[in-house]
């Protein structure tokens, strides 16, 4: 159990390193929802190719790495597909309206002391916590 926070810290450092490479290399904020959303709604324009390359690395690296270092890693996602659809829609709409998610507002925003990043992070963590506690402990639905 104690080892898990060490892996969390190591993985976190790699995530931040990825963000640093993207910022210092291409001058861009590493936000997962912005990168994918830009490809989805066509707003990416001249950054389309680099966004595709980013997504290729993001999907491809875990595919290559998992058999070598974490073959037991699983998502443990709920099997309730109705819930999955509702959650996916909320995440897609919410991150685009707010213009960022855990990586863009959380990691990249907080590290530059952006008020918007900090406010967004407070609201999505509170909303996530309240939603989960209500549905799991109060209403017993999940």
């Amino acid at each position: 159990m104690e080892i898990e926070w060490v892996w969390g810290l190591c993985g976190g450092l790699l995530i931040g390193l990825g963000g640093a490479v993207y910022l210092l290399g291409n001058g861009r904020v590493m936000g997962a929802s912005g990168i994918l959303g830009g490809l989805v709604d066509g707003s990416a324009r001249d950054t389309k190719a680099e966004k595709l390359a980013f997504v290729a690395g993001l999907i491809g690296m875990p595919l290559l790495l998992r058999p070598l270092i974490a073959p037991e890693a699983q998502t443990h996602l709920t099997s309730n597909l109705g819930l999955v659809v509702i959650a996916g829609l909320l995440v897609g709409i919410g991150t685009r309206i707010a213009n960022g998610c855990t990586s863009g507002h959380g990691v990249c925003g907080i590290s530059r002391f952006s008020l918007r990043g900090i406010v967004a992070t407070v609201f999505y963590i509170l909303a996530g916590g309240v939603t989960l506690v209500l549905l799991r402990h109060i209403w017993g639905l999940i």
């Binding site: 892996w7 990825g18 290399g25 690395g57 909320l90 919410g94 990691v107 907080i110 963590i125 916590g129």
Partner: protein, 143 residues
């Protein structure tokens, strides 16, 4: 060169998400669920990710990105309705199943049917977002 930088950044991000355990929804929900068996891992991941970024933002002053262009403009200060409403909607979806956009993509190769369904629903949501955003603005102006 820009493509190589983006591929490297995406690969580091994906490796970090896998290693940190953040593609495991039980760890994310374990962090959000303060009344359950609380799991502090997410805080270590966030902290670990912010450290290199603190240095990176410092290094942007007075320089240009390696591949040319410009660094992002200073962060906008204004907190608006879109930021708050969008973040609340995002948080609700995140809490429901424990996935956010980065891990949803990173776990695509081992997330099974559910993971694919989430990603498709999220993409549909992103496609619908401009319409919702416009409605939100209209409601705000009418009020």
């Amino acid at each position: 060169m820009r493509l190589l930088v983006a591929l490297t950044a995406g690969s580091l991000f994906g490796a970090g998400l896998l290693i940190s355990g953040m593609t495991d929804t039980t760890k994310v929900q374990g962090w959000l669920d303060v009344f359950g068996n609380w799991d502090p891992t997410l805080a270590f991941v966030m902290g670990g990710a912010i450290l290199p970024m603190l240095v990176a933002w410092r290094l942007t002053t007075g320089r240009k990105p390696l591949t040319g262009n410009e660094f992002p403009p200073p962060a906008k200060p204004e907190v608006d309705r879109r930021l708050v409403v969008g973040s609340v909607l995002f948080g609700m979806g995140w809490g429901l199943v424990g996935l956010c956009p980065g891990p949803a993509m990173a776990s695509l190769s081992y997330g099974g049917l559910g993971g694919l369904v989430f990603l498709v629903a999220m993409v549909v949501g992103m496609f619908l977002a401009p319409t919702f955003g416009a409605q939100l603005d209209r409601a705000a102006n009418a009020a």
